[in-house]
Symmetry: C2
Subunit: 358 residues, 2 copies
Amino acid sequence: MSVTIRDVARLAGVSVATVSRVLNASAPVREATRARVLEVAKQLRFSPNTAARTLSRQRAGALGVILPDLYGEFFSELLRGIDQEAQRANHSLLVSSSHHDSRGIGAAVRAMRGRVDGLMVMAPDVEAPLLADVLPHGVPTVLLNGPSVDADVHEITVDNFGGARAMTRHLLSIGHARIGFIAGAACNHEARERERGHHAALREAGVAIDPTLEVRGDFSEDGGWRGARELLARVPQPSVIFAANDAMAVGALSALREAGIAVPGDVAVAGFDDIPVARFLNPPLTTVRVGIAALGERAASLLLSALAERSPPGAAPRRAVLPAELVIRDSCGAPSGGSSRLPTRSASRARSTTLRNR
Amino acid sequence: MSVTIRDVARLAGVSVATVSRVLNASAPVREATRARVLEVAKQLRFSPNTAARTLSRQRAGALGVILPDLYGEFFSELLRGIDQEAQRANHSLLVSSSHHDSRGIGAAVRAMRGRVDGLMVMAPDVEAPLLADVLPHGVPTVLLNGPSVDADVHEITVDNFGGARAMTRHLLSIGHARIGFIAGAACNHEARERERGHHAALREAGVAIDPTLEVRGDFSEDGGWRGARELLARVPQPSVIFAANDAMAVGALSALREAGIAVPGDVAVAGFDDIPVARFLNPPLTTVRVGIAALGERAASLLLSALAERSPPGAAPRRAVLPAELVIRDSCGAPSGGSSRLPTRSASRARSTTLRNR
DNA sequence: CGTCCCGATGTAAACGTTTTCATCCCTTCG
DNA sequence: CGAAGGGATGAAAACGTTTACATCGGGACG
């Protein structure tokens, strides 16, 4: 069927071992032999069968990524970061998405068994114990933005709590008293953290938490659109709508536009994530920068280094928290001083939770 | 190290063959034996090593995807469609991105050898002969939106020419005489097709092609921003800016806003792709719907069916062209009759190139 | 009652690599 | 001049599956 190392060996008049040695530079080979083997290999367009190599080497040179979804810029950015780092380290990437429950994740994990050396799992809406149950034993795993799992699993998250708190503080500081909040799904861990941060800032400022100013979305544009419509019906209207992610902020902006409400003149808007399109919106979106691609990169690099160390089973898993920083643009009505096209204008007030590794 | 089929066999008191038969339901096994094996397998948390299985079965149950990039909503939508279809057919997905030249693609192709049963390659900026050179022999391949390659390769594309022509016709029909065009990179096949469509519509309408009304972008928001700035400097100003993709249209909208120009009042804007965020923009973007996720789905399903047939080497490769249809929203100033939030409002005039399979 | 077939199982040979071990020969040093 | 070492190679054993082939009962049918 397909050309194997045996064919190369035969045509070059050497043993398969020698061919392997030439191709992997794993042992000295006489120059003349080397040249002959390479010549034949090239001519035959030989490329080693990865499955066989994986089996023999007991490592696949590939990483697995399991995501809850693949819709919107967030995931493409994340994947981009992961891919970049993986490629740097000469690793392939297996991607599997649309896994919301632990059953689905379990299936994806099994499908990857033996294909990958390590796993990155993002499962914000699965409860920790359920998740721990389906994660594989013996395969190094990095959990992204999930609830803390009590297993031998590395974890990397964004400071969702701190970011949301910083945003609400900022909104209060520029005079917004009534903040409408569009939360994410109740079962989503990230959404809950952001909600918590928002509440913390309100409490700290002595502002009463008004349940009528909070509606629940689902991190989608449509959810944001619906949430904004609901909030606009309140009397008195909120002076700003803080959406728990940028996609919902996009939906909110759209709803406000349809209702003929000026942003930020009549009602301001803020988001969370700083997806790439945020700065190009109309008006440019004030949001919390997460550094999505960087998060992906860090996750991959964390996994790769865990792999490299061949960490003993007893070694403590690593945790890292990436800072989330405020990005003030036009949509919140803060004096931002000039054109908003500059890439970032991070408020130094953002609680810059530095990376902590333990 | 890890638990193998041998361990299961030993504990269940049967041979490995029986275990394999139970797990794959590939031959009748006595019910009692079956139950015992299943019990042991579950208890041991056994899951078969995919590399070994791949080697033995001579098929991986995985598809490879090679993309030029992973930035923006276009690719995440595409990947979403592919993933969905692959998952439906119980296949894993290998993704490799950031491959702009044939060398990079060749490397990615080699990395996938033996890991995947088939390949989907998107390489709009690689010339056909170079591409044909690095595509693998003997691995079924689907080329997405690329130039037609003279090799044993299936192809699926969007009707870029027809879509762009329909848009320009539409813009002319609603009274836009001076159409500013932000093209894509000259080396990008899709960009060239769209440019060709635009020109064809102009010629058909007897409108002279004015080179000062065409600038070159790169399919990025920033490129669109710069392109729009350039076009705004022309005297007289164009009455509409047609960006060759939505990302550039987003950038153009942003530039217009900064310049204090009303859209569509002073200058209208149109895009191409209908990325998900397009209908939520301010104003909602008139564009050409490509059905990105559907494209991905179709590509995967094309590949899967080619795989299923175990097509003989002589079989003619399949080609499919997906229609691109006009979506009129507010940004172009056409009377669109009401709120633009309805998911689609496709002009029936869109040349609905139906799928043609041969 | 013998033969044939089929259901249930085991044995062992693939699959295509890498890698250990062994072999051979040549150099170098005592 | 002999022994030791090392460079270049080959043979063969892994790696963990699937599967062709063989074996062995037992029931049906002549």
